[in-house]
Symmetry: C2
Subunit: 707 residues, 2 copies
């Protein structure tokens, strides 16, 4: 392809075809050539670490989706995409991968952890497949399994597992999403027919956004207000057939198609409404509440509130799996963007060398490396969440406290990881420029599909508010009634500490060290223990501050109390976010602590530090205002991050390689090495041109010669 005769090298920019990088080493190998003591991660070992407790299940899922039949086809029409994804789920069944969490007697493996772990990996093939599978087995199937009893399992679980009975999970309504307790659909018991009458009393009570509702579902698990004997016993779940063998709506059922969405268009989301649809009494999924033939209601859980939350809690796996899937999605985006950033060159450095590799730019490191650290933290935090989930659902540690902790943990982590995924994917897409906007390079598709993860299975802000309330009640539990005075003193002490923040500064001994040699003192003062102290201290104080601000509520009218609460809603949500960040950091720190290999531990410690410092930098104003960091130390946080980025830069490729993705999982041409190949070709062209003596001289050089 090199044409040395007719065209000539533009020497506006000097190029040295064999030139080295103008800045730091590009790989751990290069770094070791400069300094033999440079640590290096054991890539394979880190892959195992990230795959976590259910590594084998994940490996099997990844192996399965190497088959291109599972891959998303960008630009496929909605109708074709829907059929393709349905077919993928059938293949999934054939591979024996479906319904692993189901009881052994119904073809499952009763393995909750492995089930979610393998399911999360499907995001690499096509998030539509992941979520449609989640609807079928994780929501529709789980509702039958968790809210139903043995007779329901016997009747339906096998067909659910094998996809013989595709179903919808009909909880959300047009009028009520996050506030499930307020749904309008009714299930009124009619003792004459021994039936429940499922009814949609007004348009806003139409079931909405349900996967499988527009086309493929044959039945639905419908949440409705259970009414019997003139009493409303609150929301319960009912098994309701919706389509016949031909796929036509059954009498009284109306389905509608939601049409095109922002992503996940391989799923046939739609609406369902019911016009006095009669179902047998036995179709009430009656694990937590039952109605006898005479219409008498009974439940093992007397409190309607606790019963409601127990039923919802049984469905927590959706949130757990989104935490894992969004982490894997972000990791894929980072693999693509960092691999490209290690090959793509743009602008020469003005010092007569080759053009600069993107990842050598300070800004580019800043854009990508902290997000990589965040994703590592999420892998570790997710494995902890999954172990807790498995413990509760396997029965090994199924106590009310453990259930509550699991729900709180899922509610804290899912918002952070789903938002982080969107932000990371977007940053990766922008970091790849126009190439990042091409569908073939995956990044835009990941963003489109994962977009809705931040508002479904619990709106992120609503979930964080739940976490915040839990933090408040834990906080209040520390103080018995007679300790109210102590609480008041504590609160005052905190406020005083904030106003006269000398005390806060002394806690970290900054006043002394800050005026010494900066680089060393700052690293001494921002190591693991201090990061932990800063992150944990922030959660404590934020919760204390909100609790203190809300104390007067007890003496106010309900309306004024609601107003007061509303005024502090943002702070409460921020406290919950801080709590989630702390948990992620702690999980990362625990993960690193368990590593034996010195090189791996060193590099991952840097990455953990980068994550911690990045969190602290995000909230730097808070630390300053609250006297937790001096202005000097705060300024050094940013410099320390820059230094950590530079240190980690040669390890960036190792760190994304450790995600363990095969080419069949990545599939993005820009991360395939094609860019490097094109550059090599261009470089060879210019080299041959220079060697030929036919290279045109640049106008600038010419002008200099003339002068």
């Amino acid at each position: 392809m090199v044409d040395v005769v007719r065209t000539k090298k533009p020497s506006v920019h000097k190029r040295h075809p064999a030139g080295g990088a103008p800045t730091a080493p590009h790989s751990a190998d290069e770094a070791r050539r400069v300094d033999a003591s440079e640590p290096r991660i054991d890539v394979a070992a880190v892959t195992e670490l990230l795959l976590g407790t259910w590594a084998q299940a994940r490996r099997e899922a990844r192996e399965m989706i190497k088959d291109e039949a599972f891959w998303q086809i960008p630009g496929q029409s909605m109708a074709e995409h829907r059929e393709r994804v349905l077919g993928q789920l059938h293949r999934f069944v054939e591979a024996g991968a479906a319904g692993r969490a189901f009881p052994v007697e119904h073809g499952g493996q009763n393995d909750n952890g492995a089930n979610l772990a393998s399911f999360e990996e499907l995001v690499l093939a096509d998030p539509s497949m992941q979520i449609k599978g989640g609807v079928q087995w994780g929501l529709f199937g789980s509702a039958i399994q968790q809210l139903g009893t043995a007779k329901h399992h016997a009747r339906w679980l096998d067909d659910v597992r094998t996809l013989t009975l595709p179903g919808a999970f009909a909880m959300t309504e047009m009028g009520h999403g996050s506030d499930v307790a307020a749904i309008g659909t009714t299930a009124t018991y009619d003792p004459d027919g021994d039936e429940f009458v499922i009814h949609t009393p007004f348009r806003a009570a139409t079931k909405e956004f349900l996967g499988n509702a527009a086309r493929h579902g044959r039945a639905a698990t419908v949440f409705a207000q259970l009414i019997t004997g003139g009493v409303n016993y609150g929301v319960h779940c009912f098994f309701v057939p919706i389509r016949d063998e031909n796929g036509d709506d059954l009498p009284g059922v109306t389905s509608e198609d939601d049409g095109v969405k922002g992503g996940l268009n391989g799923i046939d989301n739609g609406r369902l409404s019911f016009d006095h649809v009669r179902i047998p009494r036995g179709n009430l999924l009656n694990r937590y509440g039952d109605v006898d033939a005479a219409g008498v209601y009974s439940s093992d859980i007397p409190s309607p509130g606790r019963r409601f939350f127990t039923m919802l809690g049984a469905l927590v796996q959706g949130r757990v799996s989104l935490d894992g899937a969004s982490t894997t999605g972000a990791a894929l985006a980072e693999y693509i963007a960092i691999t490209y950033a290690n090959q793509r060159r743009q602008f020469d450095s003005g010092v007569g060398t080759d053009e600069v590799v993107l990842l050598d730019y300070g800004k580019h490191q800043r854009r990508l490396l902290p997000r990589l650290a965040q994703t590592y933290a999420q892998f570790f935090a997710h494995d902890q969440l999954l172990r807790r989930f498995d413990g509760v659902f396997s029965g090994a540690s199924d106590t009310p406290d453990e259930r509550e902790d699991l729900e709180t943990l899922a509610a804290a982590l899912k918002p952070l990881s789903t938002w982080n995924a969107l932000e990371s994917i977007q940053e990766c897409r922008e970091a790849c420029g126009g190439a990042g906007f091409m569908a073939e390079n995956r990044l835009v598709g990941l963003h489109h599909d994962l977009d809705v993860y931040v508002t479904f299975e619990g709106d992120n802000n609503v979930l964080l508010q739940l976490v915040g309330k839990r933090l408040l009640s834990d906080f209040a539990a520390q103080f018995t009634d007679k300790d109210a005075a102590a609480l008041a003193r504590y609160a005052v002490g905190q406020t005083a500490g904030r106003i006269f923040h000398g005390a806060g500064l002394r806690r970290l001994g900054q006043a002394v060290t800050d005026f010494g040699s900066t680089a060393r003192s700052v690293e001494l003062g921002l190591r693991a223990e201090q990061q932990h102290e800063l992150l944990a201290g922030r959660v404590e104080q934020m919760v204390t501050d909100v609790a203190t601000a809300l104390r007067p509520a007890a003496k106010l009218s309900p309306a004024d109390a609601a107003t007061l609460f509303n005024e502090h809603q943002t702070e409460l949500i921020e406290a919950a976010r801080a709590h989630g960040e702390l948990l992620q950091w702690e999980a990362f720190a625990e993960g690193v602590a368990g590593i034996d290999d010195a090189g791996t531990r060193q590099v991952l410690t840097w990455l953990r530090d980068l994550f911690g410092l990045w969190l602290i930098e995000k909230h730097l104003a808070w630390y300053l205002m609250n006297g937790r960091l001096s202005a000097q130390r705060a300024a050094s946080v940013t410099r320390y991050i820059d230094r950590l980025c530079a240190r980690l830069r040669p390890h960036a490729q190792d760190l994304v390689d450790a995600f363990g993705f095969a080419p069949e999982h990545v599939r993005a041409p820009i991360a395939s090495g094609a860019e490097q190949q094109r550059q090599d070709e261009a470089r060879a062209y210019y080299a041959a041109l220079a060697a030929s003596g036919q290279e045109p001289v640049s106008e600038k050089t010419l002008r200099k010669q003339k002068r």
Copy 2:
């Protein structure tokens, strides 16, 4: 639809069908009923203000696109979408709206401001149409107009305007996007044939991401290294025919299709490569550089660097129009989300009233209202940019200084407004929950389409770096050589001020007032002048800091100097961002200053304050570290924002109504009033049920009665 017999109201949550809002007034009307002195904006007058200098052109464009033939159809296949958009451009021509910036003698109106203004409005119909029109008239056409001379205008402009000659703008290559100077395509003059030979010497030199290249383009304006007589004169632009009448590639030309993208799929982006394609010498667009028949090069601009930047600068209109279009796109998203937030209710407040309207939640106000303020600022800033653009391109104020200022202003504003658009659209999408994810509600489509605005027509980070360099050179220009000592003293003074930040605090007299009554003192200390001082002071100091940090570069080796610069790249980009934010704030303040109506001025002053305080809050850590705000004042910034949000809450609907969108521009069912209608129906149902005496009692009430 109300069925009072068979179903009963779920009274888990109490509802008062006629209940009022639990918190603040929802509209300016309601607010006035509470307090007659409440100001109110004159909605129509604000619409005029926002439409700006070329209001008439914008109104005409908006009127035209009320025709549904111009609307995007979500989910349409790429092939159909491409043909539809091409058809829309033909309609645009028929409406006489195309090529308004072209010379009168070629069917245009020589009206640069009106041309861009009307073009920007097309984003409301379909961003693909806006951008494909931009490719045809703003890039391909502008290249001929701005870089060509009278003979080129006479030959092609009429056909370009009427779309008889659709064309591509072939600047970017696979290997080089932002770094245009380094492109590989060559145009070698062959005196024997009096022709230029256009050639793609290697794969990376393939022209890439070009609208109209995959299908519709018949010619392209191709940027290539001009080589004649063995000398490379740098990048010039050439008119190159690429397809014949049948739409087939001409000999030597190879076109490829980029396929599906993250958005803008109504545009046929593709690649072009050239295998020794011969074009007449006259096809060089020779306004800034020419070659005679003997192959002798000549130019009015002797410096190759200045010539290059002059040619690129002539194409600044792309950036200008993206600033406007992304502002309008963000405004549409905010109209949809705020209108919905004013109707949608979720969760009762626990005080026996109706469910709470979303916009009454403190967090929801916090999510949406500062972004609304941002968009207002952008409208004002954009009108200033457009006036400057019109001044230069109409010739009214076409000086080198004005051109440079225009380019810097466009480079500062385009990154901010395009990023803000993406962030605002995403926040709006999330604020609408699942409904926000439905394509029919527009938000996801806007995000998909506008995504690439942040990296095309100049990558945002690269543009900000350009602005940063300009700021540095302006800064350096203040100090002549002999003033180097003064600069050094200045820098030292700054650093000292940062370490001992008592001085900084005194500047705003905070040390005294901060310990007084908070609410009043903070507002006194954070009004317009102080906002301006804080924002402007930050730009000054950031530039000074970077300049100081880079001073040693002069004494370093080129490699070490490049390393030093790279270490401060992020700071330089942040300084440029601060500069852009200051310009937006100033434009908003100037806009408000010109308002006569007292009510309008008051409300827009609050909105301007919200914008200013929001910017200050974003950078609060910087203000604290640099001693520009005390911890107490910094803490009050957040409280002040909360208060401003509460004050503006009743005006939110007026403020988005003032964008002046007709239902044909909005088209989102959730912003159509359908939500309100559904709620009214539900409310009527429950009211009728209560009146009928058939309402089921809640289990909770029952249990209380039993006790």
